[in-house]
């Protein structure tokens, strides 16, 4: 028999190794899944993990990798701040949508004016939109003690309704022959989130993501606010004793994660997506939760985890196209990653010991 024994100090080795082991286990279990679906598991795994980086079309996929990773990293960084303090924003998807809507609305309001300040204003509006949407669960929690998990999650569905309403109504392209969806920002240079270096996928959001990684690192390791966040996560009582104001922290963590999610939405709508449409959101806000944990809530870890998760997205699309794997199988594959990660996470704090019969 085996039993779990709490480690006196969390294992550094396993803290770093858990994500690696989880990825390997996901490959094995995913391979089995693909084999049951009648596909060659080795080919499928290679398609997902290898082809996007090293195949002959990799020049295209590599750009895609950054494009997909940027919103994941931006959102996950924001979420990780709250998660560290035990504040659970599950509604980043909604904040992402609202940020895209408000940012796009500002850009569209200036159409067809050509001016340098339009895109910066859109960035500001996107961040503010996401921030405001996240402040709804924050204020309700502060004022009435509601559960931020439920409220933020439910607000995702409200945001989706809002998105549909906007793409069919207020923001609909007047020259769009009645089709739903806004004007395309790719045809409006002053509001377009362009690639900074041609062909690399390196757009404003990617840059913002890298800046956010550094900012989050500095915040958590060098600033009193980051210290208070970590302290609150460890022990709310000790944090209050240290003078942390729990309500302000709730507002800060939810607000910041909302703003970052809103930024991600804005960069997406003004760049890769190009326009507000009914099906604009593709679940980055939820996947970012996986990314945050896969990255151990650590800024650098989240950077790597975001890239890895983007890889499964891009690779998954290739596998769907080339191997005819169903989309649901790819989603199950991504879900396994979180499952194994949380499972193996136990090893960081516990060790497995055989139960030995003690001699009397």
């Amino acid at each position: 028999m085996l039993r779990l024994e709490k480690r006196p100090v969390p294992s550094r080795f396993w803290t770093i190794m858990t994500p690696v082991v989880a990825v390997v286990a996901t490959m094995v279990a995913g391979g089995l899944l693909f084999a049951f679906l009648g596909k060659d598991p080795v080919a499928a795994i290679r398609t997902i993990f290898w082809d996007p980086i090293f195949s002959e079309f990799a020049w295209y996929y590599r750009a895609q990798l950054l494009v997909k990773a940027a919103p994941l990293i931006l959102i996950a960084l924001g979420l990780s701040l709250g998660f560290r303090a035990g504040i659970w924003n599950i509604g980043a998807e909604g904040q992402y949508i609202v940020g895209a809507i408000t940012g796009a609305a500002v850009g569209l309001a200036f159409y067809p004016l050509d001016a340098w300040y339009i895109f910066p204003l859109m960035i500001l509006a996107g961040a503010l939109g996401g921030w405001a949407w996240a402040m709804i669960p924050a204020l309700l929690k502060i004022r009435f003690g509601t559960n931020e998990i439920l409220v933020s999650l439910m607000l995702v569905y409200v945001a989706e309704q809002l998105l549909a309403k906007m793409s069919l109504g207020l923001l609909k392209n007047p020259d769009g022959h009645g089709f739903p969806g806004s004007r395309n920002f790719q045809e409006y240079p002053s509001a377009h989130n362009v690639e900074l270096i041609e062909g690399t996928g390196m757009h404003g959001g990617v840059l913002a993501g890298f800046i956010a990684v550094i900012a989050a690192y500095v915040l958590l390791n060098r600033h009193i606010l980051g210290y208070q966040i970590r302290l609150t996560g460890q022990s709310a009582r000790a944090a209050r004793f240290a003078g942390v104001r729990p309500k302000l922290l709730v507002a800060f963590c939810l607000g910041t994660s909302g703003a970052l999610a809103g930024l991600a939405g804005l960069f997406e709508v003004a760049g890769p997506a190009g326009q507000i449409t009914i099906d604009f959101n593709v679940g980055y806000g939820f996947t970012a939760i996986i990314v945050a944990f896969l990255g151990r809530l650590h800024p650098v870890g989240i950077l790597l985890a975001g890239l890895l998760m983007a890889l499964t997205y891009v690779g998954g699309e290739i596998a769907q196209a080339n191997l005819r794997l169903p989309a649901a199988a790819i989603q199950a594959f991504q879900g396994m990653l979180l499952f194994f990660l949380l499972g193996f996470d136990v090893l960081a704090n516990y060790r497995i010991r055989p139960i030995k019969r003690e001699v009397a």
């Binding site: 100090v9 460890q234 240290a242 009397a360």
Partner: protein
């Protein structure tokens, strides 16, 4: 008389420490036997082996001349060994009878059980109403629940681990009467304590442990308290020294302080008045759960009150938070070391930041000065003799005494004008406790007003200039500590409460009072 339990050569080693080394002694039926020793002497390990919680590495035990090696507590209970732990395992939201039933292998129906609880409680003079919620009981009454739970099994050997640490002197008297009745009926009692006077009044025999070994056995009635202390510690301890400086100006003035407890089973503070002068030590006694945590929170700023309720050097501060009070010079050290005074998984450096950030200037423009924080942590470790491999070690890796020295040192080194401590030496070995008390006295000698909340009366008498007691969230008037008798202290602690028969302590009475 033949012995009931004999222990021969019991040895138990943990990685890095031998908890029990070749321990041998015997208990006769009807004997009250003391197990005496400092924290860490190996008392707990020894009784855990008798109770089947820990398996010995070597040695054997016999009970009723039969080999006895319980592998789990239920085996020990089946052989007639029962134990009352220092920390109770009771559910506050359940009634007394329900709690007792939970601890039984095969509980009878509730009504029958309630009757048996009443019978036993009357027979042994332990008033207890089986229908009351445990959450409404005082610590002394909770202990009775545990004792009655044991007595229902009709034990041959009853182990009691530090039973009086939560009792008022009067409650101790009731307990001792019960234990003597039990002993007269032939039940052997293994009584663990480090309180020498108790042992001298209660026990027939004593085994003294030091560093896991038996260093002596005696009849405690024939020894003086200081002789016993020397056996226990190995050398004579010198009591903390203090100079009798005159107290200065009133620094902290508390008037009409009422704070509702954040915890549904907590005790709200009701109309508390006191003043403390510079250089004075105010000792606040009381049985656990009478508002100690709440008083600390109200003084540290974790719980807010109306501004005028707490005045610091004449300035209203009742509404200020912990950091605002730290700026002024009001510092505190709560009872719970891990999770309140310190964050368990953070390093000592990070824990030095926890309260030291402001007064020690450990941040600049909101950014942390890690080198300064590390220096501060090192200074605490050095000046307060905290045994740790380094300041990057996490708090929960430290022993209780070392962490407590760190926590107290962290506040003392910040040169407070007012220092509030709650249970400063709880679970700390004698030498660390002496060091902490000395540090508090030195601080007072330098002009700090010290408020020491504690359940250890000896400690309070040792360091206090004046003494007051908390009882049900109220504070008694302060009296000079010098010359107070145990009876007077007991009365101040509300010694008379909970001593009436159960019918008169029905929950309604308390609600009316509240």
């Amino acid at each position: 008389m033949t012995s009931l339990l004999t222990i021969e050569g019991l040895t138990k080693a943990y990685p890095g420490v031998v908890a029990n080394d070749d321990v041998t002694f015997a208990i006769a039926p009807g004997e009250v036997h003391a197990l005496l020793g400092e924290n860490g002497a190996g008392k707990s390990t020894l009784v855990k082996m008798i109770y089947g919680l820990v398996r010995p590495d070597a040695g054997q035990m016999t009970l009723h001349r039969q080999p006895f090696s319980p592998s789990k507590p239920s085996e020990a209970r089946a052989r007639g060994v029962a134990m009352v732990f220092q920390h109770f395992s009771l559910f506050e939201a359940l009634s007394v009878a329900e709690n007792v039933a939970l601890g039984m292998e095969d509980p009878p129906p509730q009504r029958q059980l309630a009757r048996r609880i009443r019978d036993v409680s009357e027979a042994y003079g332990l008033p207890l109403d089986p229908d009351r919620l445990v959450g409404d009981l005082s610590a002394g009454e909770r202990q009775r629940v545990e004792i009655i739970r044991c007595l229902l099994q009709d034990p041959k050997l009853l182990i009691m681990d530090e039973p009086t640490s939560v009792l008022t002197p009067q409650e101790v008297e009731v307990l001792f009467k019960t234990l003597r009745t039990l002993a007269a009926e032939g039940t052997a009692i293994l009584y663990i304590s480090h309180k020498l006077d108790e042992i001298r009044t209660l026990c027939d025999g004593a085994t003294v442990l030091r560093l896991g070994r038996v260093v002596g056995s005696c009849n405690p009635r024939e020894k003086s308290a200081s002789e016993l202390a020397e056996m226990m510690v190995g050398s004579a301890l010198k009591p903390p020294a203090r100079d009798g400086a005159e107290p200065g100006e009133i620094v902290l003035d508390v008037t009409g302080l009422s704070v509702k407890s954040a915890n549904p089973f907590g005790t709200s503070l009701k109309n508390i008045h006191f003043t403390v002068r510079a250089g004075e030590v105010l000792g606040i006694g009381g049985v656990a759960g009478n508002g100690q945590d709440e008083l600390l929170a109200a003084l540290s700023g974790e719980a807010r009150a109306v501004p005028e309720a707490v005045k610091f050097q004449g300035r209203p501060v009742g509404h200020l938070g912990p950091n605002e009070r730290r700026v002024l010079g009001i510092l505190s050290a709560p009872e719970e070391r891990l999770g309140h005074a310190a964050a368990p998984d953070m390093s000592l450096t990070e824990n030095a930041l926890l309260t030291g950030a402001i007064r020690e200037g450990l941040t600049r423009g909101g950014f942390l000065r890690w080198d300064a924080a590390e220096d501060f942590a090192r200074r605490i470790v050095k000046e307060f003799d905290v045994r740790t491999p380094g300041v990057s070690n996490v708090a929960r890796a430290l022993s209780g005494g070392n962490l407590q020295k760190f926590v107290i040192g962290r506040e003392v080194l910040q040169r407070p004008d007012v220092l509030v401590v709650n249970q400063p030496t709880w679970g700390v070995d004698a030498s660390a406790a002496a060091a902490i008390r000395q540090a508090l006295l030195d601080l007072a000698a330098r002009g700090t007003a010290v408020i020491c909340i504690s359940q250890d009366l000896d400690e309070l008498m040792e360091i206090s200039d004046r003494f007051a007691a908390l009882n049900g969230g109220r504070l008694t008037a302060r009296r000079p500590a010098k010359g107070l008798t145990v009876e007077e202290i007991g009365m101040m602690m509300g010694g008379a409460h909970d001593m009436e028969p159960p019918a008169q302590t029905a929950p309604e009475v308390r609600h009316v009072e509240a």
